[in-house]
């Protein structure tokens, strides 16, 4: 049974079409990378999957259930990490368990032991067990993003989403973060959808690629199908000169 099915998803903001008739399905545990220029609808798609935005038409199914509204079983990793910087990495990771605790217990950090263990396990997964008590604000960009991944993992999600998780990191940190994210997904057979800007990183870490342009799915395939021409078509349709320049730069 496919873990996630997206059926004829359309989202319009007034006259602007952000997403048009997008359909695809993702089997459980697959690591999917969304590619596409800015404004292609990547963020809109992720927001709909996360329940932050309602689609105009169509729907998203997890197994047989139609998704709507925010849910704790979908984890999200944000571009700017969005950690509470004054709290320790451990406490940030624990916020992933908030939906399983009431206000008073969470304020006093009286989480259930399984949740505490889950938070530390998640931090271990992203290689930050030793830094658990460090203040998030004092961490490097890559470490912060790894705490962000840990927080999403503590939610014990069935689906992990990531909106350009490494866009504001240097190449080495970006590589590390993507590596940890892939390990986490593999370890837990966690279906993951990440949007990425860097085609190189995408090729390295993705298993499957969905290309968006002007709100339409223009590509859906594996690593072998993602040729330079395909990348070209996703990013540079109708702009031969820029495309040539970039290709040259890459070579």
């Amino acid at each position: 049974m496919p873990a996630i099915t997206v059926e004829n998803l359309t989202k319009r903001y007034g006259d602007t079409v952000a997403l048009e008739d997008a359909s695809f399905s993702i089997p459980e545990g697959e690591f999917v990378v969304l590619l596409g220029p800015s404004g292609a609808g990547k963020s809109t798609l992720l927001r709909i999957l996360n329940g932050l935005t309602e689609p105009t038409e169509g729907g998203v199914y997890m197994g047989d259930t139609k998704l709507s509204g925010r849910r704790s079983d979908i984890g999200m990793v944000f571009q700017m990490h969005y950690l509470v910087e004054s709290m320790s990495a451990y406490k940030n990771a624990l916020t992933g368990a908030l939906s399983r605790e009431d206000l008073l217990r969470s304020l006093l950090t009286w989480y259930d032991t399984p949740d505490k263990v889950a938070a530390l396990e998640a931090l271990d997964t992203v290689g930050l067990l030793e830094e658990a008590q460090q203040r998030a604000g004092s961490m490097s960009g890559g470490q912060k993003q790894r705490v962000g991944i840990a927080r999403a993992l503590v939610q014990q999600p069935d689906l992990m989403l990531a909106d350009e998780p490494v866009a504001s990191l240097d190449p080495k940190a970006a590589e590390e973060v993507m590596g940890y994210m892939r390990d986490a997904a593999k370890e837990r057979t966690l279906t993951t959808i990440a949007s990425l800007h860097q085609v190189g990183l995408a090729r390295e870490f993705g298993e499957r690629y969905i290309g968006l342009r002007d709100g339409r799915v223009v590509f859906d395939g594996g690593k072998d199908d993602l040729t330079m021409d395909v990348v070209d078509e996703i990013y540079y349709e109708g702009d031969e000169e820029a495309s040539a320049a970039t290709q040259e730069a890459i070579q």
Binding site: E121, D124, E130, A132, D183
Partner: protein
């Protein structure tokens, strides 16, 4: 990539991982327990000190319970405001109670007359207008000096030891409350609203200037660096790199101080400097609680309207709401009634 592989090896077997996590949890729990004990001790300390303070002030729960009916009785005196002196019209026609209020509102001319002839007798409307004018003009008169001291007090503008000359002046001004400042002006201008206005203007230099300085300390370094790298001279760097960044927050702070100043203007009346405060004090001195209550009612009306107006204005001037336009676009939008009511947002 290779680092990460090594990491997996270091993590080792499942059982080892579980043990390491257990150890770490133990450590964290211990640290947390210590922190909790310290927090409890701190809370207990604050409670003990507060208790000691209350004892020092002679507080006993029994006295509060015993005196509560007296307090309630006193408050009830204010429950029936008497608007006899609301306008010259209501006092002339001897309209008591709320009929003084509504009777005057039914004769809008009487409101204008009370404002124009404020020296021909006491009226709440006249006193209110005096209070508002004292607050507003005091703010405007104090503003230029607040700007001067505020800008020069910032370490970003004036180098370190010298900025304390300006900061110190503002701190000294702030240390003396407006109700004391007015006592300095009363020998000069007499116990009049004019003294109150000058007291507020002086107070504004300290308060508003301090906010301006703080705001300037927090401006972003980037634009300053960029402007100075264009070869602009020092005062150009200050104007374009710094002041342009804080322009709308200065306006917002000025409005906030205006709000506070209207409130101060009321309290200055209590020492005889005119306005609503003086009216209330006078009525209380004659034990005319209901008439004082009418003045207090007006105080509430004025303070809440000034606050509503100012906070609405400030939120309209906030830069993020008018992404596309400058300050004057924001001002133009102020005349759009729908936006004031919160309609047609985005």
């Amino acid at each position: 990539m290779s680092e990460e592989r090594v990491d997996v090896d270091v993590r080792g077997s499942r059982a080892e991982t579980t043990q390491r996590i257990k150890d770490r949890l133990g450590e964290i729990e211990r640290a947390q327990r210590i922190r909790r004990i310290l927090m409890l001790a701190l809370a207990a300390g604050v409670l003990v000190l507060t208790g000691a303070g209350l004892t020092y002030l002679g507080f006993t729960l029994a006295a509060v319970v015993r005196q509560f009916p007296v307090f309630l009785d006193n408050m009830l005196n204010f429950a029936t405001p008497d608007f006899r002196f609301f306008t010259l019209y209501s006092s002339g026609e001897s309209l008591n109670g709320w009929s003084g209020f509504f009777g005057s509102l039914a004769n809008p001319g009487s409101l204008v007359e009370s404002v124009l002839q404020r020296n021909q007798g006491t009226s709440i409307v006249g006193a209110s207008v005096v209070t508002i004018i004292v607050g507003l003009t005091g703010t405007v008169v104090g503003f230029p000096l607040a700007l001067f001291f505020g800008v020069l007090g910032s370490e970003r503008v004036t180098p370190f030891p010298f900025n304390f000359l300006f900061r110190g002046t503002m701190s000294t001004i702030r240390a003396i409350p407006a109700i004391v400042w007015v006592l300095f002006y009363i020998p000069v201008f007499g116990p009049t609203p004019l003294s109150a206005m000058f007291a507020i203007a002086t107070d504004t230099i300290g308060n508003m200037g301090r906010l301006f300085t703080d705001e300037l300390e927090e401006v972003q370094e980037g634009p300053i660096e960029a402007i100075s790298s264009t070869g602009a001279n020092r005062s150009q760097v200050i104007s374009f790199g710094m002041l342009s960044q804080v322009f709308s927050s200065f306006i917002a702070w000025a409005l906030y101080i205006t709000e506070i100043n209207v409130r101060i203007a009321i309290s200055l009346g209590v020492v005889g400097a005119g306005g609503l405060g003086q009216y209330i004090k006078g009525q209380l001195a004659q034990l005319a609680f209901s008439r004082a209550a009418a003045g207090i009612f007006m105080v509430i009306v004025i303070v809440i309207s000034v606050e509503l107006f100012s906070s609405r204005l400030r939120s309209r001037l906030r830069p993020d709401e008018d992404a596309g336009g400058g300050f004057f676009d924001a001002v133009k939008r102020l005349f759009d009634g729908d936006r004031w009511l919160g309609r047609s947002e985005r």
